[in-house]
Symmetry: C2
């Protein structure tokens, strides 16, 4: 059975919505999401560093539309491993595991990997929004469209913009 490595932030967790919500709480100004297009997350969000280190940021992140049904579908057909970059922000680690347990209860703790570098983990298919993770991956690469990658060509990746596209493809 093929192993699918599924990223969290930007694929299961709608971190852009969370950044915009935290920014609104910080400044009282609700920004137009369009201004984030083409920028890296630290460039797009002036309080990036403060907010990713704030308790609750990852624990309360909104769930990406369609991801619960989509991941449940994948989980019945593939060996699913959730693979999330998390060790840079130690408090995020527990928050991410609790968040997965709450929103994706069909994902077992044996299916979770939290790391710093994703190239130490083996898999056949990778779904991720960060080109740096996909670049070094030797298997099938699926890039999930997020504002920071929307303008990039990525010719060796299949691009999807929503979970129903993943379900139709896999």
């Amino acid at each position: 059975m093929k192993r699918v490595l599924v990223d969290m932030d930007g694929v299961l967790a709608d971190v852009y919505r969370q950044f915009l919500d935290f920014e609104f709480r910080e400044t009282g100004v609700r920004r137009d999401p369009a201004v984030t297009f083409g920028l890296s997350e630290p460039e797009a969000f002036p309080f990036y560093e403060k907010h990713v280190r704030m308790p609750g940021f990852f624990r309360t992140a909104p769930v990406m539309p369609g991801s619960v049904a989509g991941l449940e579908y994948l989980n019945g057909r593939y060996e699913v491993v959730i693979l999330s970059s998390a060790t840079e922000f130690p408090q995020s680690l527990s928050e991410k595991a609790f968040w997965l347990n709450e929103h994706f209860p069909f994902i077992d703790w044996r299916q979770m990997v939290f790391c710093g570098r994703k190239d130490v983990v083996r898999g056949d298919i990778m779904i991720d929004d960060h080109p740096k993770n996909l670049r070094s991956f030797p298997g099938e690469k699926i890039v999930f469209t997020q504002p920071h990658n929307a303008g990039l060509a990525l010719p060796d990746c299949i691009r999807v913009s929503a979970w129903d596209e993943i379900v139709r493809m896999l």
Copy 2:
């Protein structure tokens, strides 16, 4: 450069001492460590499940003698990745990252992997106390002696009982 996968509990963290200390705080009785020989950790420690889920258990674990100097030595000669089973106990995840940051500051967040199953991670050498992790590993296997594995033969593993043995060997 060869990649060495280094386990935490039973290799970097002296979890047996922590279990015995937590049991003493629970019962007022200090048990002879010898009674744990040959038993799995849940068999050896009546309050295993309660204590591993208790906030602070992993954050305050004693450091294995010789492991700081030993790991620093390895870190200069190999690509070291700390690989710890942690996702079964969500609160342990953050505690383990903070613990590593405190006691092993030369280990970068990019060198940490917290998982459920270790066989998804690639490496050349694995240092672990749990035969179940070593069994499926295709590279060089080093078993770190702990009471639960002390009586097992493990013919395809090199057995070490202390960090200075690892340093002499690698």
